[in-house]
Amino acid sequence: MAIAGPITYYGTLPQVPPDWPGGFWGHWGTFVGIILVFVLTLVMGFIWVERRGIARFQARVGPNRVGPFGLLQPVADAIKVLLKEDIIPASGDKVVHWLAPVVAFVPVLLIFAVVPFWDGALLADLNIGILYVVAVSSLTTIGIFMAGWGSNNKYSLLGAMRAIAQVVSYEIPLVLSLVAVVLLAGSLSLNDIVRAQNIPFILLQPLGFFIFFLAACAEINRTPFDLLEAESEIVAGFHTEYSGMKFALFYLVEYAEAVAISAIIATLFLSGWRGPLLPPFLWFLLKVFAVFFLIFWVRSTIPRLRVDQVMAFAWKFLLPLAFLNLLITGVQVIVWQGVLPWPVIFVNLAIMVVLIVGWSSFFRLGGGRVEV
């Protein structure tokens, strides 16, 4: 695997030789460790933040009995869930049922390989960073579908079918909105994209952020697109038949995906680790948290869409807007090269408002009765 350009460290780690993974296990080992710790602690933390936060949204207190402020609640949950009985449905496909959580979980961890925690501090600065993220994140769906299939449960299968339809659809606007970012940054590497953000791209690309955020919410199945585990409809969706450790993995996937998407959004649109005064890593964490807050704010506020409306939203609303956004960005990159960014920011904001308001005025989340 080729590594783009020299990597500068804030530590004393040696350079990565081009013939990786032939040598240099130190760098690899360090970052795998960092990522594991980062993901797991952040997931634990975010579960706590979400439960407390949603409780506040719902005029409640939230977990506060276990440890100070209920901070140990996720720990207790984890110990309990891991030690619970593991059930494999007798009529299910045992191999598939067993493999599914692993297949779902591994890609989520892999995403973090290219996320820069600060300048150059990442496992592998791939020159195809964004492409890698998109490619790897699409693997989780297969795990989810395997879970739905292997359980031999109708609710699970319904959830799995929804997952597939949804993820395939939202991949397209997601990638298209990414391309606009790539056009601005001139690189696919996440670290280079952060370096290119003298102003956060959310200002230059408000529409792109809007599309990416919604599509990413759909990709990780958060409200209002949480159809595949829609509790009021199909019980627990694809993980209805999962208990114990395997369920814990799915639970982990759900939040790790949220963390991953928050990290990607923070990197692509909120200028990643860049920021004044505070150390870069803290800036990065803050931004990740901000995005995550937005995600669970939406979760506790908005009702769920129906399956055909979700599809219509992807194909009829997000996709055309993503195309337009790409076109506009392309034109801007060619025409306004070197122009001060401030006018561009306001023009883009105006374009976003006009496009969204205009498009939504003649796009209706319709769908209706089917004659049977």
Partner: protein, 163 residues
């Protein structure tokens, strides 16, 4: 033996085993999963060849999209556990397969392969784009392919659409 070699051999064995499983396994769904594994192993082999862009595209298109289409097709299949039992076309299938194998083997053996001694250090994406869309590239053929696909999609919609 370098790391690349070890990786290559692991991947090669995995991909061959997975490919055999695709045709040997009765359960259609497991066959589809084996196919996904095979495709992933192929992506791994691309990485060992320093073709990271191709690898990512392989995962994105084949594993992320094509395999999901296959799974959707599996769901529409009636008898998933036992697979298709009608084997009237066994003999022609074997003949066709042998022909393909022969052609493939011939092509592999008779191509003058050039082995790069060093992995490219600068990004491969730029070079790839230059080759495809630059001077003397394949811009026209790509555009034609795109238009063809678009026509196919519209055709499919027209076919499925309820009157």
């Amino acid at each position: 033996m370098t790391g690349v070699d070890i990786a290559f051999w692991i991947l090669a064995v995995v991909s061959v085993v997975a490919a055999v499983l695709v045709v040997a396994v009765r359960d259609v769904f497991r066959a589809a999963l084996s196919l996904i594994l095979c495709l992933l192993a192929a992506a791994g082999i691309y990485i060992t060849l320093s073709a990271d862009f191709v690898a990512a595209v392989q995962v994105l298109i084949y594993v992320g999209a094509i395999s999901i289409l296959i799974i959707l097709a599996v769901v529409l299949t009636r008898d998933v556990q036992r697979g298709s039992l009608t084997n009237r076309l066994k003999v022609p299938a074997i003949i066709v397969a042998l022909l393909f194998f022969g052609a493939g083997a011939y092509a592999v053996l008779n191509t003058p392969w050039q082995v790069a001694r060093k992995a490219p250090i600068e990004p491969t994406t730029g070079a790839l784009a230059g080759r495809l869309f630059g001077e003397g590239g394949y811009l026209l053929s790509i555009e034609i392919a795109a238009v063809l696909l678009l026509a196919a999609i519209i055709g499919a919609i027209v076919l499925v659409r309820e009157k």
